[in-house]
Symmetry: none
Subunit: 228 residues, 4 copies
Amino acid sequence: MARKPADQSVNKMDILLAAADVLRRNGYEATTMKDIAAQVNLTAASLYHHFKSKDFLLLSVLETGLQVAIDQMERILHTPQPCADRLRAMITGHIVDVTANPAVGAAMVFEIRSLMNARPGIAGSIHSDAAFIERRDAFFRQRDAFENLFRRIIKEGIAAGEFREVDAAVFTRAMLGAHNWVGVWYRPGGRLTGQEVAAIMADTFITSLTGGLAEGQPAPLHRAQPGR
Amino acid sequence: MARKPADQSVNKMDILLAAADVLRRNGYEATTMKDIAAQVNLTAASLYHHFKSKDFLLLSVLETGLQVAIDQMERILHTPQPCADRLRAMITGHIVDVTANPAVGAAMVFEIRSLMNARPGIAGSIHSDAAFIERRDAFFRQRDAFENLFRRIIKEGIAAGEFREVDAAVFTRAMLGAHNWVGVWYRPGGRLTGQEVAAIMADTFITSLTGGLAEGQPAPLHRAQPGR
Amino acid sequence: MARKPADQSVNKMDILLAAADVLRRNGYEATTMKDIAAQVNLTAASLYHHFKSKDFLLLSVLETGLQVAIDQMERILHTPQPCADRLRAMITGHIVDVTANPAVGAAMVFEIRSLMNARPGIAGSIHSDAAFIERRDAFFRQRDAFENLFRRIIKEGIAAGEFREVDAAVFTRAMLGAHNWVGVWYRPGGRLTGQEVAAIMADTFITSLTGGLAEGQPAPLHRAQPGR
Amino acid sequence: MARKPADQSVNKMDILLAAADVLRRNGYEATTMKDIAAQVNLTAASLYHHFKSKDFLLLSVLETGLQVAIDQMERILHTPQPCADRLRAMITGHIVDVTANPAVGAAMVFEIRSLMNARPGIAGSIHSDAAFIERRDAFFRQRDAFENLFRRIIKEGIAAGEFREVDAAVFTRAMLGAHNWVGVWYRPGGRLTGQEVAAIMADTFITSLTGGLAEGQPAPLHRAQPGR
DNA sequence: CATGAATGAGAGTTCATTCAT
DNA sequence: GATGAATGAACTCTCATTCAT
């Protein structure tokens, strides 16, 4: 008694991207399952064939976004360059991601709180509860790990004498705050490309880290793995 | 059918602060009028004596928060110091505010979207609509003005040769992103006081602005505690 | 969190009739969606699958009631009988309708004002507003048309010399006022059937129209379709 | 801490008239105490100094309206004229009242139901209940008495051979339905004065009553149409 | 897979009414 | 008398979710 005249069957990823988009505009609480469904030409009821609940849908969106960012970082971190170079690459990579897909980036900022407060529907069975909590905690662990990647390289840079002595925790958060905010104000097609924003951002923070140390070389970009 | 065992009459400001607090934890959409009312020992219905609607309540919270920040800045801006000193004072002032009242600071970050999307309940009369829209637009204008205070001093510093040549727009947003984010992670009673966070923050960005330049003082973070 | 023990699916018309019935007893404002829902073994929430809002539900009730009356009239109007006979048929038809379904008849009298004052909840989208206003205006136009059917035949009768010269506008309203009122006092199973009330009503007004002109035949109650 | 800068102290009758006016526009259920209070420059709370409850206020409005109509009738009934003349005077008097104060007239039609359904606030004391019921019942008795005045004179006219044999009950209700309806459509300042409407109305029903009979005067309104 | 119909749980909001001032 | 503040009860409407088809 019902068909989907739609062009092509929808898959999970379609839904996730559509959801991220709606989420960005309205926020988790103000977004209805119907809103999301409409974006992919489905009814709300049909979403339940793909995601167990709205909470799980949100979780999936965030997991996906975070995974992309982490993969990006992993590749960079394990290269044998100076800290400044690696940090620059990390910042650039992150910002490019965020500008390429601001919806997901914004979700990472704004919807985390909803995820925290989510109380999985006691409804069906008891272990929907458990399953959700578990996956959510895993997500938060990964997110902390992500933040740590930045903190660690800063500490490393300080230890190596490449960076001046800053409070690594606060500095990292200042940086991530600035990054996250990009997802809020950046509009594709504006004055600057994502690459340009990324470059400015990297410059801002790396200059801050190397600024006070500048001797001859003005905040050296590819400095010379000194004595060691 | 109505009683008032209330010990002490509540006023608008009490409600605003309580609301900011709840908002911080749950976000606008997830916050119920009942939640807010409970914080001030009222019933949800009673809130409507003080605020015409939930939308207006949110607007009032944000207006109040912004006003505090703006007043702060005005005082600083008109002193005849070097740009770097004035900017430092501005950053410090802003961060101290945010840490003193993280709830309001966080609201400024997270609830703006809800304010934008708010469709004032036509409820009573038709012009509740107009009144709301007007006040909301005024708010957004003030917020832009606030951002401009920072942008302007940066441009001034560049022109005066105190700062290196950065993209003032992006730099300002990086800064404000970092500041706003403080409202998210800062917890009173933690490792650092608001003053300390403020100092670190100011140092981070001012070093970035002056870093490449050859001044005498290298703006160190844990600088030499001189006399001591 | 949702079940459907429902024996049989309900349809719009079931709801409309139930609603008319409740409306009659309590009036629009005093009638709750729950009241209406209860009559058809639904919950209030379920009504919103069938009608966008309480306002639309009311509008639908009235539209339906009016349509029945209009259809009735159309059939009669186009027969080639004397005006008196056609008017008699119209009155009779109308009253029989009203007595057969006093709820709908009463709604036509009492709930019009609520319909006028209705300010469609902006709720969902902005054009629920426009859609409602449009349909409502169409309804009012039809209602005026209905009243005009009576006015016109009276004028026709006067022109033809069948009726004495009365103020057609006031006379029509007197008639309709009397008709509408039937929905208020008539109780099925009382002393008179709907047919009987209808006959008396028709006699009352037709005698009034022909009374002064009476030649031989004394405005007979069950007149003998004379020669002609 | 509160005063009434108003020009003149308000009294019960002011409130009753104001209330009738608001009632006419919005109906009892849709009218709030605040609405009524606003019309007399008071706050809702203040109305409770004059009326024990909203129900009592409604009751008072209706009582007042009915009393005026009844007084009117009493004067007429006891004159030694023919039935037709007395009925004409009654109708005329009633309609003039209704057009002079359509608000009260309309209330008599539309708000009766609310009065019936009113369940006096169990709230305060137990006898607010009883007091209300008693007064309400008295009101209904008076209203029936009012209707009976009309029914009785019609019967009297029939017995006297002045009127043809109609069903007095139905005829009376047809008449009152027409009268009440005047309060709905009549607008002061329109094409006709209240007096004119009254004359037409009286003519309509008296012609109906006398139409079939062979008197000398056939009570035509704009009669003559002689030749034909 | 997809959907329409149904629903429990609440949310925002209104309102008659009370009471201390 | 009059009022502002407060409230319990109720109402409209929304929404995530389920289930038979």
